[in-house]
C-alpha cells in the first residue's frame, strides 16, 4: 500500500467515530426541540450515546474474552470438546511450564526490586546535582524505546565472537580486556535470565525515576533541613526519612512494574525465544497459540496463569478505589 491509500484508510477510520458522536448528538438535539421535552428519556438516550461505543469495546475486548478464555481452558485444542482439568494437568507436567513459572518468579523478584531501587537512588542523586535534569532525561530515555529495539541494543552489547577474534560486543570486549574468556552470554542457562532481566531494568528504572522525582518534591524541606541540622548523614536521611515518606509511591511503582513483568513477552521472544531455559509464561502462551495450528485450550491455561498473578493487585486496586470513593 502506498502512503495515500494508508492515509485515506486512517482518515476514514477516525472520521467514522467523530461522525458517529457528532451526528447522534446533533439528531438528539434536533428532535428535542421539536418533540415535547421528555427530559428523562432524552437523558437516557444521551447516556447511551456517550457510553455506548466505549462499553461495547470494553465488553468485546476485555470482559467477554476474560470469561471466554477461562471457559476455553477447560476445552480441547479447537475449543470444541469439554476436557475438564486435562489442560491444567498437562501444564503441571510440562517441563516448559515449570521452567516458565520459575523464570517468571525470578523476574518478579529481581526486576521490580532493582528498578525501584535504582530509580529511587538516581532520583535522590539527580535531585542534588545541577545537571540532574539532563541525567534524568538520559536514564528515562529507554522508556520511549520498544522492547524489540531494546532487544537489538542489548543483543549487540552481548554479541559473542570466538576467543581469537576481535569482540564487537561491549560486554565481551570488557571481559576480554580484563583477561577473561569471551562468553555467549545468552546461552548460559540460569545466568542468561539475568542478562535478559537487565534489559527490563534498564527500561523500567526510568519510570521509577520520574515518578520518584515528582514524589520527592512533596517531602517538606523543613523535615529534611531539621534532620541535617541535627547532624544526620545523607545516607541516614535516605533510609530514615525519604524511604518511609515515599512508602506509598514505592508500592505503586512496584505494582506497575510487577504488572509489566508478569506479561513480559517481547524481550524473550526477540532475544532467545525461550531457548536455553529462558522461557516465560507469555512467550509460552504465544507459542501455543500458533504451534501446530494453535491449541486454544493450553494457550488459555497459560493466559489464565498470568491472570492469577495479577489478581492480588486487582483486588488491592479495587479496595483502594472503594476507599477513595467513600471520601
Amino acid at each position: 500500500m502506498n502512503i495515500f491509500s494508508l492515509a485515506t484508510t486512517v482518515l476514514i477510520g477516525v472520521l467514522f467515530f467523530i461522525a458517529f458522536f457528532h451526528l447522534s448528538n446533533f439528531l438528539l438535539d434536533y428532535f428535542r426541540i421539536k418533540a415535547a421535552r421528555k427530559f428523562a428519556l432524552e437523558n437516557s438516550i444521551r447516556v447511551i450515546i456517550f457510553i455506548g461505543p466505549a462499553f461495547i469495546v470494553l465488553f468485546v475486548f476485555i470482559i467477554y474474552p476474560v470469561f471466554e478464555t477461562i471457559r476455553l481452558s477447560f476445552y480441547d485444542k479447537q475449543g470444541e470438546n469439554f476436557v475438564g482439568l486435562h489442560n491444567y494437568a498437562w501444564a503441571l507436567n510440562d517441563p516448559d511450564f515449570k521452567r516458565s513459572i520459575i523464570n517468571n518468579l525470578g523476574w518478579l523478584l529481581v526486576v521490580p526490586t532493582l528498578s525501584t531501587f535504582f530509580g529511587l537512588v538516581i532520583a535522590n542523586l539527580a535531585d542534588r546535582a545541577w545537571w540532574g535534569s539532563i541525567a534524568k532525561s538520559i536514564i528515562f530515555m529507554p522508556m520511549a524505546i520498544s522492547f524489540v529495539g531494546a532487544g537489538v541494543i542489548w543483543k549487540f552489547m552481548y554479541d559473542y565472537r570466538g576467543p581469537g577474534d576481535q569482540q564487537i560486543g561491549l560486554l565481551n570486549a570488557i571481559a576480554v580486556s580484563l583477561g577473561f574468556e569471551p562468553q555467549a552470554w545468552l546461552t548460559i542457562p540460569i545466568w542468561n535470565n539475568f542478562f535478559l532481566m537487565a534489559i527490563m531494568i534498564w527500561i523500567q528504572t526510568g519510570l521509577a525515576l520520574v515518578i520518584f522525582s515528582a514524589a520527592l518534591r512533596t517531602i517538606p524541606s523543613e523535615t529534611l533541613d531539621a534532620a541535617r541540622i541535627d547532624g544526620a548523614s545523607e545516607f541516614k536521611i535516605f533510609w530514615k526519612i525519604i524511604i518511609p515518606y515515599l512508602e506509598q509511591t514505592i508500592l505503586v511503582i512496584w505494582t506497575i512494574i510487577t504488572l509489566l513483568v508478569l506479561k513480559v513477552f517481547d524481550i524473550i521472544y526477540a532475544m532467545t525465544n525461550g531457548q536455553w531455559q529462558t522461557e516465560v509464561l507469555a512467550n509460552l502462551m504465544y507459542d501455543w497459540m500458533f504451534r501446530g495450528g494453535g491449541d486454544t485450550g493450553r494457550g488459555s491455561v497459560l493466559a489464565f496463569c498470568i491472570l492469577i498473578g495479577v489478581i492480588p493487585i486487582l483486588a488491592w486496586n479495587l479496595y483502594r478505589h472503594k476507599q477513595d470513593q467513600k471520601v
Binding site: 477510520g13 456517550f50 476485555i62 471466554e68 524505546i145 524489540v148 532487544g151 505503586v252 493466559a303 479495587l318
Partner: protein
C-alpha cells in the same frame, strides 16, 4: 552553588556512572548504524573514533581489465574500489606473511607477476605474459583507517529491506489506534464523571479492574472472533481496522481512567452553570470540557501512541506479516532472525524504529512524564 563536599562529589560521581551505563548501549547502537558494514563486523564501535590499524584482504581485478603497454601487460585499479580515506602502510601477497612489503615496493606473486601497492590503495600489477585468469589475486594490506561514518546503511534498510514501508504501516496502525480511543474514552469519561445513570459505579469498578487484566487474556477469544467475522463476511481476518479496534480495546481502560481522574478535578460549578444556561451535555462537552482537557489529551495521546508504536504482540497477532501490513517491531524481530549477523542492518533498523519515539520523547517529554505520573497502569 553549594559547597563541594566529599559527599556531593561522591554522589555526582555515582550519578555519572549511572548515566554512562544507561546511555552507552543506545549510543553504541547509534554509532554502529553510521559505520561501514565491513568495518562494523570486525571491530567494536568504540574503536571508530580513532584511527585504527586494520588488516584486511582484498582481491585485484581479473584479466578483463588488463591493458598492454609496450611489452608488458598491466592491471591497474584500487584495492578499495574507490578511495575511502584509508592509508595502507604495509602489504603482502601470501597469507603467511601478510605485511612483507612496504607501500611502493615491488612484490612478486608465485607466478612471477609483479605488484606494487600504493598508500591510497592504488595498485599496478605487471606481467610479462597476458593475464589468463578471470579472478584476481588476493592482496593482504595493513591500513590505517581514519574515523569514517556513512548513511549507506540507512539507505539500504529503508529502501531495500522494506523498513520504509513498515515505518508507514506503523503510522497507519498507531495514529487511529491513538485517536479512536481518545474520542471514545473522552465521552465515556465525561459520562462517568458528570452524568448520573444506573450502574455507573459498577462500570467504574470494571474499568479499574480492566486496568490490570493482562492483554494475554484477550488474545485467543478476539482472534477467534476476528477469524469467524472474516470468514462470515468474506473479508480478511487481519486488517487495519481490526488492529485499531484491538488497540482501542486494550488502551480503553487506561485512557478512560486517566481522563476520568482529570475530569474529576474540574470544578463542578462550571458544569452546573452550563446546565442552568440550558446547554446540553454535548454542548458542555465540546465547549467546556474539551478545551480544558487539551493538556490531559496531550499526555494520554503520547502514552498511547508510544505504547502502540512500540507494541509487538498485538501487531503480531492481529496483522499479517506481508509487506503491506507488517509493523516496525515485527519487521525488526524478523530481521533479528533472518539477518542476525548483519549488524549494520539490525542496528540501523533498530534506530529507525526508535526515531519517532525519541523525537516525541525529546520534544514532548513534559507531557509524557505528566501522563506517567498521573498514574499510568497499562492493561
Amino acid at each position: 552553588m553549594k559547597k563541594l563536599t566529599f559527599s556531593s562529589i561522591f554522589s555526582q560521581l555515582l550519578l555519572l556512572i549511572f548515566v554512562i551505563v544507561w546511555i552507552v548501549p543506545t549510543f553504541g547502537l547509534f554509532i554502529s548504524s553510521l559505520r561501514d558494514k565491513d568495518v562494523l563486523a570486525i571491530s567494536g564501535w568504540w574503536t571508530s573514533f580513532t584511527t585504527t590499524e586494520v588488516n584486511e584482504i582484498y582481491r585485484t581485478e581479473g584479466n578483463e581489465s588488463q591493458i598492454k603497454e609496450g611489452d608488458h601487460y598491466y592491471i591497474k585499479g584500487n584495492l578499495f574500489g574507490e578511495d575511502k580515506g584509508k592509508q595502507i602502510f604495509r602489504f603482502g601477497v601470501t597469507s603467511k606473511n601478510i605485511d612483507e612489503f612496504e607501500v611502493g615496493d615491488k612484490a612478486m606473486f608465485k607466478d612471477k607477476t609483479e605488484i606494487t601497492v600504493f598508500e591510497n590503495g592504488d595498485y599496478i600489477w605487471k606481467s610479462q605474459e597476458e593475464f589468463k585468469k578471470k579472478k584476481g589475486k588476493r592482496v593482504f594490506v595493513s591500513a590505517k583507517s581514519p574515523p569514517s561514518f556513512t548513511l549507506d546503511n540507512y539507505k539500504e534498510v529503508l529502501f531495500k529491506e522494506g523498513l520504509g514501508q513498515a515505518f508507514l504501516n506503523t503510522f497507519a496502525v498507531a495514529l487511529p489506534s491513538t485517536i479512536i480511543p481518545l474520542i471514545i474514552c473522552s465521552f465515556f469519561a465525561y459520562a462517568l464523571t458528570w452524568m448520573k445513570f444506573y450502574g455507573r459505579d459498577i462500570l467504574l469498578a470494571s474499568i479499574i479492574a480492566s486496568l490490570v487484566v493482562p492483554l494475554q487474556m484477550s488474545l485467543i477469544p478476539i482472534l477467534t472472533v476476528y477469524n469467524d467475522f472474516g470468514a462470515l463476511f468474506g473479508v480478511a481476518a487481519k486488517s487495519y481496522p481490526g488492529i485499531w479496534m484491538a488497540h482501542t480495546g486494550f488502551g480503553l481502560a487506561s485512557t478512560t481512567f486517566l481522563l476520568w481522574n482529570f475530569l474529576k478535578s474540574l470544578p463542578s460549578e462550571m458544569m452546573e452553570a452550563a446546565k442552568v444556561d440550558g446547554a446540553t451535555h454535548y454542548d458542555t462537552f465540546l465547549k467546556i470540557v474539551v478545551p480544558l482537557s487539551i493538556p490531559a489529551f496531550a499526555s494520554i495521546f503520547i502514552l498511547q501512541f508510544l505504547w502502540v508504536w512500540n507494541d509487538l504482540l498485538v501487531g503480531l497477532v492481529f496483522l499479517d506479516k506481508h509487506p503491506s501490513e507488517i509493523i516496525l517491531t515485527a519487521k525488526l524481530k524478523e530481521l533479528l532472525g533472518s539477518r542476525g549477523e548483519n549488524w549494520e542492518i539490525l542496528t540501523t533498523g533498530a534506530f529507525v524504529s526508535m526515531t519517532v519515539p525519541l523525537f516525541i520523547f525529546f520534544s514532548l517529554q513534559r507531557y509524557f512524564i505528566r501522563g506517567l505520573v498521573a498514574g499510568s497502569i497499562k492493561g
